[in-house]
Amino acid sequence: MANLKYRLALIVGLLAASAWSLFPRTVVERVKRNGVFVYDTVNRVPLKRGLDLQGGMHLELEIDESKQAVANKSEALDRALKVVRQRIDEFGVSEPVVQKAGDNRIIVELPGIDDPERALELVQKSAFLEFQIVDKSQAFERVAPRFDEIAKNANIMVSSAKIAGGDTAKSVGVTSLLTQKTDSTKDSTGKAVAAVGKDSAGKDSTAAKAVAGGLFSTNVQPGQMPGMYVVPEAAYAAISQALALPAIQDAMPPGKTIRWGVDSLVNGAQRFFAFYVLDSRPIIQGDALTDARPNTDPVEGNVVQFTLNNEGARRFKSETGKHVKDNMAIVLDQRVVTAPVLNSAIGRNGQITLGGGSLQAAQDLALVLRAGALPVPLKVAQYGTIGASLGADSINKGVLALGIAMLLIVVILIGYYRFAGILAVSALLLYLIYTLAMLAGFHAVLTLPGLAGFVLSVGIAVDANVLIFERIREELDHGKSVRLSIDEGFRHALSAIIDTSATTILSGMVLYQYGTGPVRGFAVTLVAGLVASLFTAIFVSKTFFLVWLNRSRGVQTLSI
């Protein structure tokens, strides 16, 4: 019975390989210890648990074409993928998933993230850094009447109730804003309040000059530097809506562009938003950056110091030299972070003042800049976070469901097929181990739907055995010998088993192709389960029968 020996050897060999591939092993990984990321040796089971089973966040990023047309998306995405991966690595997450999906999307999965907001910011930040000179030619004042007209035609206006509120606060608000120093872009409640009264008469005349009736002339006030304008909160929505109109974009003075500031300005109960008119041609962009580090400056607070490459430095020096005494806006992701006055030409090294931003914000900005700017702006198409509490709970429930399902199936099988049922159950146990090992081999991520698919595949896996057993029973009914019945039973059941598995595997592949995240996990478990069930139902249980036949030669009856 050499044949039998080979069969058994194959089963045992596969079992050993499966056990080996499922055994936990040690890997060196960046992990969080007491809030700090360190490299450490940790013990990991090869089967990754999906986000829904351990908590964390799932992000899908796609190219934001509203900001910039992209010619070769797929290639741009490949480069973006590298940058995102690098950022994630620096952020320090164990077992992150960063992969391309289709040719316009990147999927990021960050298990065990305890600060989703920060992670979201970090990944999403395209770090599209530009240095642009702030316009001082009053370009906006020249086109404001035209803007008013366009806004009126497009029927964009501020609701009257809001205007009333805006007007009463305006005279105080704007004046006090004007008294502030250059760091006006931050949320500066304290300072603004302190500044009220001091120098209040200041530039009220400039504020009055703009009032003429239209959306822009009523609501937009000049800020404390040429090219900067402030808008009360009540009018912000209408103004930003109007600024996004194509007609307004067309009416912009040539070579100028409008960008909002990153933060709002608060004065008492009133909140203002600032926008800037900038030269649209940037002096340099983020790709000229070679290094960026966070630092704390005794005067400026938290800053990010950056270093430029040779070409960037040369260009930066000559351009900043031309614009001494002008304001230069540092624009990150199309929003003005700050716009300091250039006191002299700046060469290779410069710094970005965060003006009151936290050290963590400085660290994140430096990290984003250092890890490289994204070649294309990305936006979040989808994101989700799941608390670890849900994870632990769902794992327990899933495992319990699996246990109960197995128990029911074992009872049904052994109750109905007796001895043959025991063989089938042993084959089923091997099925479980093989499938898990295969999933580990695929680097599959175990998700809750995946687990459900697994439970279900156990139910379906039994089908192959049932088909075979019923055939054997039929053959026995025809009065064939036990040995012949077993052979014929397996042989006749084969075509149905193969046809059904083939169609299910085809569907599973379609699911994998068009599914995302959990559905893919489900498809992988389904297909892996089927392959394993084909092997155990046809090969393993046949081998068990052969072993049994071998041990009890000349047997006349079969308990099936």
């Binding site: 999403q124 989808q382 769902s394 319990l400 469901a401 809750l448 459900a452 039994v462 049932v466 019923e470």
Partner: protein
């Protein structure tokens, strides 16, 4: 040896009109519900929006949650109890807000949490999960799911046409289409939320139902090859169904057992999936007997195959290639001429 439904001689196909009426009524009921209550209850993945699951320390009043959110400027949010009486899901579908969130502005989920924290005090509300999906992704997912279903059906059709005969393939695919309709009706009647997981369940059930049909058809193919004298196709179909009945009962029982385990203990997240699968076990059984069979009969009555052709197909199918007598060309021609 315990045997159930052994050597049965039920006349399944006799009742095919009744079955057709029943299933048509069920589908019609589903359709009416779709028309009267609007389209499917799509999950956040399809509609776009923000979904949050929050857990309260103490049982909250839904009306209070709603007014709190309204005050925070999140109007029209759906608030639903989820599992225990402390867990709630809050769904905001405002597309503008979702877009604002994607653009990196103040997140709507943050807003919700801060509004609830303000109302109930710090620590009384905790966020279990959030999901935010742009509306574009939603439409992509929908077309993706649709494409997956079409492709899966197409592959099944092609596979069966090659392995069996186009008649079998068509009957199987049409019965699968029936399953989709019935399942959609079921989903609507139970008001199950259509999420990606539910789509996965539908696809699984299609596979499962196709399985069941194929196993019966496999037996039909085999029985056609050794057709008894004077036996008609309906009789062969009935015989095949009866012969495979013990297997069907066993397999459906084990699958149903696994599904019930999921339904009862696997928790709220997996419940819609389990419901669809549990229903799917019944649909699969029903459709492979009462839908696939009658359709095959109908196709056969419109496009009959000659005896010779049947035999040549049996040969092409392979198993009995050596023993089956080769069909004479004359008979094959006559069959074609008919």
């Amino acid at each position: 040896m315990i045997r159930i439904f052994h050597n049965t001689t039920y006349h399944f196909l006799k009742h095919c009109r009744l079955a057709a009426g029943l299933t048509a009524a069920f589908i019609a009921a589903g359709l009416v519900t779709y028309v009267t209550t609007g389209g499917p209850n799509y999950s956040i993945e399809f509609t776009g929006g923000t979904l949050m699951q929050v857990q309260f320390k103490q049982k909250p009043d839904v009306a209070v949650i709603r007014s709190t959110l309204d005050q925070a400027g999140i109007t029209g949010a759906e608030i639903q109890q989820f599992g225990t009486e402390l867990d709630y899901t809050i769904r905001a579908r405002d597309e503008k807000q979702v877009e604002a969130q994607a653009a990196g502005a103040e997140g709507i989920s943050k807003k919700i949490v801060s509004a609830l924290t303000q109302k109930y005090g710090a620590g009384a509300v905790s966020m279990v999960r959030t999901e935010a999906v742009g509306p574009k992704v939603g439409s992509e997912l929908r077309s993706g799911a649709f494409k997956a279903m079409l492709l899966a059906s197409l592959f099944t059709l092609i596979y069966l046409a090659i392995r069996f005969d186009w008649r079998f393939g068509l009957a199987a695919v049409l019965s699968t289409a029936h399953d989709i309709l019935v399942t959609l009706a079921f989903i609507k009647l139970l008001n199950i939320e259509v999420s990606l997981t539910v789509v996965a369940a539908i696809l699984t059930l299609l596979g499962y139902s196709a399985n069941d049909t194929i196993i019966i058809f496999d037996r039909v193919r085999e029985n056609l090859r050794k057709m008894r004298k004077g036996e008609s196709l309906p009789e062969v179909l009935d015989r095949s169904i009866n012969e495979t009945l013990p297997r069907s009962i066993m397999t459906h029982a084990t699958t149903l057992a696994a599904t019930l385990a999921l339904l009862l203990v696997a928790g709220e997240v997996i419940r819609p999936f389990a419901w669809v699968m549990a229903f799917g076990v019944f649909v699969a059984t029903f459709s492979s007997i009462y839908v696939a069979g009658p359709i095959l009969m109908y196709i056969e009555s419109r496009y009959p195959r000659g005896a010779a052709e049947a035999q040549s197909r049996a040969i092409r199918a392979g198993t009995d290639a050596a023993s089956a007598p080769a069909p004479s060309t004359a008979r094959a021609d006559r069959a074609k001429a008919r």
